[in-house]
């Protein structure tokens, strides 16, 4: 049964009329046209669909939309605004600023095919919020052993991701000073 659900996505209130059980991924991609999160395994085994829900990573392929009602959702499309708000940037500065994680992903030339990288950046932000200066071992642990599954990259960009997370950590700390 379709019914109205109100979501806060990338700072905007959105109302959709959908089946309450519909995975959040379908709502984001098909109803709200936020195509950053990707359809990967459909069973929370890969991380391609990850977004932030109240600041923590979730897998949208297995999360019913009703679970996200009233909570704050952030996709990679909304990361620059998150950073701008965090730093209190003016609208002008915000428009030309990327989130440090996105900037680090570009600086380190991380994506190969890039299909998993939306989820990888979400995992990086989740990690850096908890541990602003992670070691290589801590990064590996977070991307591999955080439930529900490892974040998988088939192109094999793991080394680049590690470098980018450390670069992002520096960028964020630099900005904090």
């Amino acid at each position: 049964m379709s019914e109205p659900v109100t979501l806060t996505v990338n700072g905007r209130k959105e109302s959709v009329t959908v089946d309450r059980d519909m995975p959040l991924l379908f709502v984001l991609r098909n109803e709200l046209k936020l195509t950053g999160p990707k359809m990967g395994c459909g069973m929370a085994q890969c991380g391609a669909c990850a977004v932030l829900l109240d600041g923590e990573e979730i897998r949208t392929c297995v999360t019913p939309v009703s679970y996200a009602a009233g909570k704050k959702i952030v996709t990679i499309e909304g990361l620059p605004d998150v950073w701008a708000a965090q730093k209190g940037l003016s609208a002008g500065d915000a428009a030309k600023t990327l989130h440090p994680v996105q900037q680090a992903w570009i600086d380190e030339q991380v994506p190969q095919c890039g299909y998993c990288q939306s989820g990888m950046m979400i995992a990086a932000i989740d990690l850096l919020a908890k541990n602003p200066n992670p070691t290589v071992a801590q990064i590996k642990d977070a991307f591999t052993n955080t439930p529900p599954s490892p974040h998988l990259c088939r192109c094999g960009t793991y080394s680049a991701i590690i470098e980018a997370v450390q670069r992002a950590a520096k960028l964020m700390q630099g900005a904090a000073r």
Binding site: V18, Q109, P111, Q112, C113, T157, S159
Partner: protein
């Protein structure tokens, strides 16, 4: 960025420029194919947002009045950085900055050359020559405009200077519509059902002639780490991926696949229209789908229909545990390919006093991208077809779709979009969801988007076949190899048939059971060698749906054949009591290989000594350490891999502590992108070495999710050290493959070094290594 001036070398060029007319605003030089054809069938194509000039969609390059450049290539960004190094190559020949170049890739109606996206070097060579021709044309225009002789012109950053005057490329074309025709050979792929891969050409169109080009030692842009252009939009969510394409009136489809690999449809399950009012079942032969305007409804309705759909029982597979036995048992006749000296090698082996021999094997593995196949197709009433794809072979896919639907090729347009990496599976243009989508769209007369599930992808996409190799070497008294014979046996890896067309019983190419010798021989001091490969049809190839369809996968053929060759080199080195690196150096005079081996060994801190290590053991719960090496030549590039591993004999666990990889691909175009390819290739190679195996029972593939088809995680990724040697005198070599294929032989050598036992079977997972160490087999 000052260029050379060799206009007089090509006096013919000014006559190749023609002026089509004058324009009020803008203006451009269009650089096009010198063959007469037009894109047909475009009436049915959807709106073309990236088309810059509909009158000349086939242009290679457009030098525009605003001092920007548009370049078009049928090749596509598959993640290895062509959006970095194609602009670099163009910029180099034109003496401009790469930032002003926009690439249009892959669309069959908007790119000029076709060809496959694994052929980066041939695609790059096309654009390099096109740019060189164009540079001469621009100089010719400047001679006329500035009224100074060519010899007094110079070019920097797109500005031509001479006789105290300056003019930009943009000003040279301002207000005009100019054309330059480029000589080419070859043709776009056409269906050829009886041909080797079912179409006429994998290569597309090739630029001919010999325009003056910049010397390698004058390069200013090539050799720098220009960033890959596809990255910023992917990081910010702006890229429109193939999975993001939405058309008006489009239906979402989920496929209902046969219950077993060779099952046929008995009866279609029930669709509850009360529960799923907008859903419809679509069927043709064994192709079954549920469509709905709502994706989630399509998902649920397809699951419900699948539950009550009946298929015939089928059990025609040998089971993955028995697959190499089944390959052995095949009635092999003649090799499908061979290289080397047959008689001399056989004679040397027959008369040898000492021989080293071993057999190696691997089960099926697969490409396994994170994003399953997806495609959108729109088949119109007038027979025109548009397909949105992420295939790495747009022109080939176009030929296959046309053939399956019984439509002229000219009526099919293929639009390329980014998607998950393909690692070779779409290089032949056959594997994917496109045929599903096109057939469904033709049946229901609406645009259809087909999204495969991961389980479906890991069960129904093509696979890299299992194989066995028998290796034998004859050595002299000192253990130096004097003759070597290799024989590789495998199901073939060139099945180009789209599964949708097979299931629907629509026309496809036939599947040819041949394989080929893929190694590039690195050991010129081995006097006699004979390499043979044998190809058999797909496993269960005569069943209703084509069986396990074999396909090429990253570093195809060489990945498999080099595991055996480098394995035998390690075993022969041990038999001779020689260090594995010194043993290799003793079998080659190739200075490029010798230099790279030495540089990589130094970086790895290689300790020169024979394997196994003096502390090697095959039992015990504490760790033992070892090192191993592999070398390879591929597409004018030299490669060395060195693995440092840690083994726990009691559990069979293998950890790679460090991997050192060296590459010398002639002139390095983009060190950063090459480094990324090297490191990520090592990750893929480690995944294959340690973990990957497609499992199946007698009816179907069972490794259908990420906990059953295991790939490497970040935690398992070791420190990867990169060594790059660039040189100016050997042209360009391939950099996007090979790295993955270096890893399994190097890791196997390292496990032997640590344990004294030869791993001859992939994957080297705890179960296989533990069984090996406990068995009596495999000792040196």
């Amino acid at each position: 960025m000052t260029g050379r001036l060799n206009l007089t070398d090509a006096p013919i060029l000014p006559t190749m420029i023609s002026r089509r007319g004058f324009v009020k605003t803008g203006g451009a030089l269009f650089v096009s194919l010198a063959i007469s054809w037009r894109f047909a069938g475009q009436a049915g194509a959807a709106e073309a947002p990236t088309s810059l000039d509909a009158t000349l969609p086939e242009s290679w390059l457009e030098i525009r009045a605003d001092n920007t450049i548009v370049a078009r290539t049928g090749r596509t960004e598959t993640g290895v950085g062509i959006t970095g190094y194609y602009p670099q190559t163009i910029a180099e020949e034109l003496n401009v900055r790469p930032e002003i170049i926009t690439l249009i890739m892959g669309d069959t109606d908007r790119t000029p050359d076709g060809g496959f996206s694994a052929g980066f070097l041939t695609g790059m060579s096309n654009l390099r020559k096109v740019s060189a021709y164009t540079y001469q044309a621009l100089l010719a225009l400047a001679v006329t405009r500035l009224g100074v002789p060519a010899a007094s012109l110079s070019v920097a950053d797109g500005v031509v200077s001479g006789g105290g005057k300056k003019i930009t490329y943009g000003e040279l074309v301002q207000g005009q519509h100019l054309e330059l025709k480029i000589p080419v050979k070859g043709a776009f792929a056409q269906p050829d059902p009886a041909g080797w891969v079912g179409m006429t050409s994998l290569d597309g169109v090739t630029v001919t002639g010999d325009p003056p080009m910049k010397a390698t030692n004058e390069f200013k842009v090539i050799g720098t780490s220009f960033p890959a252009g596809h990255i910023p939009d992917k990081v910010t969510g702006k890229t429109e991926w193939s999975c993001d394409v939405v058309l008006p009136g489009m239906l979402h489809a989920r496929m209902v696949r046969p219950a077993a690999l060779g099952s046929t449809l008995v009866s279609v399950g029930m669709l509850d229209k009360k529960k799923f009012p907008a859903a419809e079942v679509v069927r043709k032969g064994n192709l079954l789908a549920v469509v709905s305007p709502d994706e989630y409804q399509a998902v649920r309705a397809a699951l419900a229909v699948a539950e009550t759909t009946k298929w015939t029982k089928w059990a025609g597979l040998p089971g993955s545990d028995n697959v190499t036995k089944a390959i052995r048992a095949y009635p092999w006749e003649k090799p499908s390919g061979s290289k080397g000296k047959a008689e001399e090698t056989k004679a040397a082996l027959a008369s040898a006093t000492k021989t080293v021999s071993a057999s190696y094997e691997q089960g099926y593995v697969r490409h396994a991208p994170i994003g399953p196949f997806v495609a959108v197709a729109d088949v119109k009433g007038d027979g025109s077809v548009t397909v949105w794809t992420h295939s790495a072979q747009s022109q080939g896919l176009r030929a296959r779709i046309a053939f399956a639907l019984g439509t002229p090729v000219e009526k099919v347009v293929v639009r390329w979009r980014e998607h998950s990496g393909q690692y070779g599976r779409t290089t032949l243009g056959g594997d994917g969801a496109e045929a599903d989508a096109a057939i469904l769209s033709q049946l229901i007369g609406k645009p259809v988007r087909v999204q495969w599930t991961l389980e479906e992808d890991l069960e129904w996409s093509t696979v890299s076949p299992a194989w066995v190799s028998d290796m034998k070497a004859a050595t002299d008294a000192k253990g130096h190899i004097v003759a070597l014979h290799s024989a590789n046996y495998a199901p073939h890896m060139f099945d180009p048939r789209p599964v949708g067309a097979l299931l629907a019983g629509m026309p496809t190419a036939t599947s040819k059971p041949g394989n080929w010798v893929a190694t590039e021989w690195p050991y010129d001091k081995i006097a006699n060698r004979l390499e043979e490969v044998y190809g058999m049809p797909n496993l269960a190839g005569d069943s209703a749906n084509g069986g396990l369809r074999g396909n090429i996968m990253r570093t195809p053929g060489q990945r498999q054949q080099d595991f055996a060759l480098e394995g035998l080199m390690n075993e022969a080195a041990a038999a001779a009591g020689a260090d594995p690196i010194e043993f290799r150096l003793a079998h080659t005079t190739d200075e490029r290989m010798i230099n790279l081996v030495k540089a990589t060994a130094k970086a790895a801190g290689w300790e020169t000594r024979p394997s196994p290590h003096h502390g090697a053991r095959r039992t015990g719960t504490t760790e033992v350490k070892g090192h191993g090496v592999c070398v390879m030549i591929r597409e004018n590039a030299y490669w060395v891999g060195i693995a440092d591993v840690v083994v726990v004999p009691a559990t069979g666990e293998v950890k790679v502590a460090k991997f050192t990889i060296g590459s010398e691909p002639g002139k390095i175009i983009n060190p950063r992108q090459l480094e990324r390819c090297m490191k990520s290739g090592v990750v893929m190679g480690l995944s294959e070495a340690l973990k990957e195996e497609v499992t199946f029972d007698k009816s179907r593939v069972t490794s259908t999710n990420w906990s059953r088809y295991k790939i490497l995680t970040m935690e398992e990724t070791p420190e990867i050290q990169v060594v790059q040697l660039s040189r100016d005198d050997k042209g360009f070599g391939g950099g996007s493959e090979a790295a993955n294929a270096l890893v399994p032989p190097a890791v196997a050598g390292a496990i032997f070094d640590a344990t004294g036992v030869w791993p001859r079977k992939l994957p080297m997972n705890p179960a296989n290594i533990s069984a090996l160490l406990k068995s009596k087999a495999g000792a040196a």
